[in-house]
């Protein structure tokens, strides 16, 4: 492996990017713990998971999936636009990404409040009367989508800061590490949802 020692900005950006990738590994393992719990209980209570998943709204889930997939494209395009020096386009694409993220959160809010109305939340009397597998399914549903939503919010904050810096030209066609790293973080948020979506919504 070649050795780099010249401390130029270019070297620093490769360094910064490697740092972000390693951070993404930690996020994968963080969610991984929940996926492990899911897989154990899915194997044990497959029929009840099947029933409980029927309570989820697959349409909203699919819509959210589309939002995130499109937002991954728009943020990747934003990076390409910045690399080509098209500041206006970069800003536009970043805003679209953030709006899609906000729509995701909005959807999640409606989804959750709808469930709360039906008394489906951890520790509720409704849940206590359910068969064990269904109870555990909803526990996993809330914890996994909740942790994921938190990461969507963090991603939105990162992207917003990035947008401000692009506007201020502190991020430009030769210095765009923060944009690249925020985009990577955003793709991770998308990745996790790509696994969550079928495991929670599509096992009916």
């Amino acid at each position: 492996m070649a050795v780099h020692q010249i401390h130029t900005e270019h070297t620093d950006s490769e360094t910064g990017k490697l740092g972000m990738w390693i951070f993404l590994f930690t996020e994968l393992f963080l969610f991984g713990g929940l996926f492990l719990v899911y897989s154990i209980f899915r194997a044990k209570y497959s029929a009840e998971f099947h029933v409980a998943a029927g309570e989820l709204n697959a349409f909203i889930g699919t819509l959210n999936t589309v939002f995130l997939l499109v937002s991954s494209m728009t943020v990747a395009m934003a990076l390409a636009a910045m690399q080509k020096g098209d500041r206006r386009l970069t800003l536009f694409l970043l805003m679209v990404t953030i709006i899609l993220a906000a729509l995701f959160i909005l959807n999640k809010y409606f989804e959750w409040s709808h469930k709360f109305e039906y008394g489906i939340y951890p520790g509720s009397p409704v849940l206590k009367n359910m068969p064990h597998g269904e109870l555990l399914f909803f526990g996993l549903y809330y914890m996994m989508t909740g942790l994921h939503a938190l990461h969507v919010l963090i991603g939105m904050v990162l992207l917003s800061i990035t947008t401000v810096r692009v506007r201020a030209r502190r991020i430009n066609s030769t210095r765009y590490l923060m944009l690249e790293n925020s985009a990577l973080y955003w793709h991770l948020v998308d990745l996790i949802w790509i696994f969550l979506f079928p495991l929670l919504y599509l096992i009916t």
Binding site: I40, V66, A76, M77, A80, F195
Partner: protein, 94 residues
């Protein structure tokens, strides 16, 4: 690894990638309509893994990154899979 060599994705290639992802999502959703029994899990995971692979290699640019990073990402997924499998050695054989 000079900056000038940096690969910049074209907008059209990114749009194509999105289209593929949306198609795979559609297949995944429609497949729940069919009665595949235990294979629904398998199919869902296969499609999800394919989508993840596409996002990693195209959107996250892994296809154009250095070998170490590609190995590391692969290693992370392999390690996680092993941990899950070993845990199942307990549960499955109880």
């Amino acid at each position: 690894m000079k900056q000038d060599e940096k690969h910049i994705s074209s907008y059209s290639s990114l749009a194509v990638v999105l289209t593929i992802l949306l198609v795979l999502t559609t297949i995944s959703v429609l497949a729940t309509g069919f009665h595949l029994g235990p294979f629904t899990v398998v199919l869902a995971l296969v499609i999800a893994s394919t989508k993840v692979f596409i996002v990693l290699t195209q959107f996250m640019h892994l296809k154009f990154e250095n070998l170490f990073l590609r190995l590391a990402v692969t290693g992370v997924f392999v390690l996680f899979a092993l941990v899950v499998i070993i845990t199942f050695v307990d549960y499955y054989f109880r």
